[in-house]
Symmetry: C2
Subunit: 194 residues, 2 copies
DNA sequence: AGTAAAGTGTCTCAACTGAGACAGGGAACG
DNA sequence: CGTTCCCTGTCTCAGTTGAGACACTTTACT
C-alpha cells in the first residue's frame, strides 16, 4: 500500500527529487531550501513537484516513510528473541540510507526532522515493547513513561549522528553492540525508578 | 549550433543516459552493454533512446562531440604563443571529464573509442599545426606524416589513461609539463628524419 | 543444424511532464 | 510605509515520454 506502483516517470521524478534534496542539504541547509532550488537541481518542473508533494516537508516525510517501511520489513523478519540482532539490523538500515540520514540529522539538517526521527523511534520501541535482553513479549511499563522514551530516542539519534559524522571507522556491528549495551544499562537503572 | 537548446526533458534524458552509460561501463564493459541495460539504469524507455540516438556508439559520439567542443572553446581562448599552456588546458579538460574518459579509455572501455580519441587528437594537433615551442604559426610538415601523428596521438592517449588510472596523485600541471617535454623531445628527433 | 532466449529497431496511444502565466504572501530596504 | 524581489501554490495546453506489441537479427546452447 502506498507503494510506488507508479510507472517509470513517477518513480524517476521521486528519485531525482530525493537526490537533489540530499545534495542541496549537504551544500546549504534544509531550512534554507526552496522548492525552486530542489526542482531545478532535480531537473523537473515546479509544477511536477506540487503534483505529488505539498511542500519540502512532505517530500521528506514520504522519503522517510519509505525508509521506515524498509526498516520494519527488515526487523520483522527477525525473531523477537534477540534484541542485539535487532540493533544490528537497525544500524545496517542506517548505513544503507547513510547520505539521507547524515544530511537530515546533521548540522545542515533540521530540528524538525530530528524530532520526527525520535518520534518514530519511540513508536518502534513501543511496538517491540520490551527491554533489551527481555525474556517475554509483554509490553513493559517502561515504554509508557515519556520521560524515559524521550531520553532513549534522543540517545539513539545521537548515536546515529555520531556514527555518521565522526565514527566513520566503526562498523554497524560495533555501534550496534555499544548502543545495545548502553540501552541495557539505562533501562536497568530506569527500572529501579518504577 | 547543435546546442542543447532542447527543453528540460530532453536535456534530462541526455544527462541520465550519460550517467548510466558511465556507471555501466565501470561495472561491466562498453562492448557488453545493451541498449536495454542503459535505458533501464537511466530510468527512461528504450523508445526514448532510439528517438535521439542510433545506437550506443552514437550516444558516445554525441557526448564526445560535446566534450571536444568544450575543449576547443577552452583552447580557443588561449593565445597561440604558448604551447605548454595549451597542454595545461588540455589536461584540465580531461580532469573535468574524468569519469567519462576513464571509463571509455580504460580496461572496461573500447578500442573503438581509443581510436576515435586518437583521431580527434590528430585533428587537434593539425589545427594547431605546429611544434611545441614553435615560433611561427605555419603548419609544419611533421603534422602530415601519419607515422608521426599516429604515434603522437597514441602517446597522448597513453598519458591520459596512465594519469586517470595510476597517476591519481599528480596534478594536471605536472602531467601537462611531462607530456609537453616528451612531445618536444619526440618532435625534435622526428625533425632529423625529414 | 536447430532452437530458445535475448537484443534490436520501430510504431502508436495514453500518460506524465514542462513552460509560462497568475495571484498572493513575506522579507529586505529605502 | 511602500516598493521591489523572490517564493509559493495553482492552472492550462503543448510536448516529450512510457508501455507494450511487433518483426527481425543475433547469440548461446545442444
Amino acid at each position: 500500500m502506498t507503494r510506488p506502483v507508479g510507472n517509470l516517470r513517477v518513480r524517476r521524478t521521486q528519485k531525482l527529487l530525493r537526490e537533489a534534496l540530499i545534495e542541496l542539504i549537504e551544500e546549504q541547509s534544509f531550512d534554507a531550501l526552496t522548492i525552486g532550488q530542489i526542482t531545478e537541481r532535480a531537473m523537473i518542473s515546479r509544477a511536477a513537484f506540487y503534483r505529488t508533494y505539498q511542500d519540502k516537508y512532505d517530500l521528506v516525510e514520504q522519503i522517510f516513510a519509505e525508509a521506515m517501511n524498509a526498516l520494519h520489513e527488515a526487523i520483522g523478519e527477525l525473531g523477537l528473541e534477540h534484541p542485539p540482532a535487532i540493533w544490528m539490523t537497525f544500524f545496517e538500515h542506517i548505513a544503507s540510507y547513510k547520505r539521507l540520514y547524515r544530511a537530515l540529522l546533521g548540522r545542515k539538517g533540521s530540528p524538525w526532522f530530528v524530532q520526527k526521527m525520535q518520534m518514530a523511534l519511540i513508536e518502534l520501541l513501543a511496538e517491540r515493547g520490551r527491554l533489551p535482553h527481555g525474556k517475554d513479549g509483554a509490553i513493559h511499563p517502561i515504554h509508557t513513561d515519556t520521560f524515559i522514551t524521550d531520553i532513549t530516542s534522543a540517545m539513539i539519534v545521537k548515536a546515529i549522528t555520531w556514527w555518521l559524522e565522526q565514527g566513520e571507522g566503526y562498523s554497524a556491528q560495533e555501534i550496534a553492540r555499544r548502543t545495545s549495551r548502553l540501552m541495557a544499562v539505562f533501562f536497568q537503572e530506569a527500572l529501579t525508578w518504577q
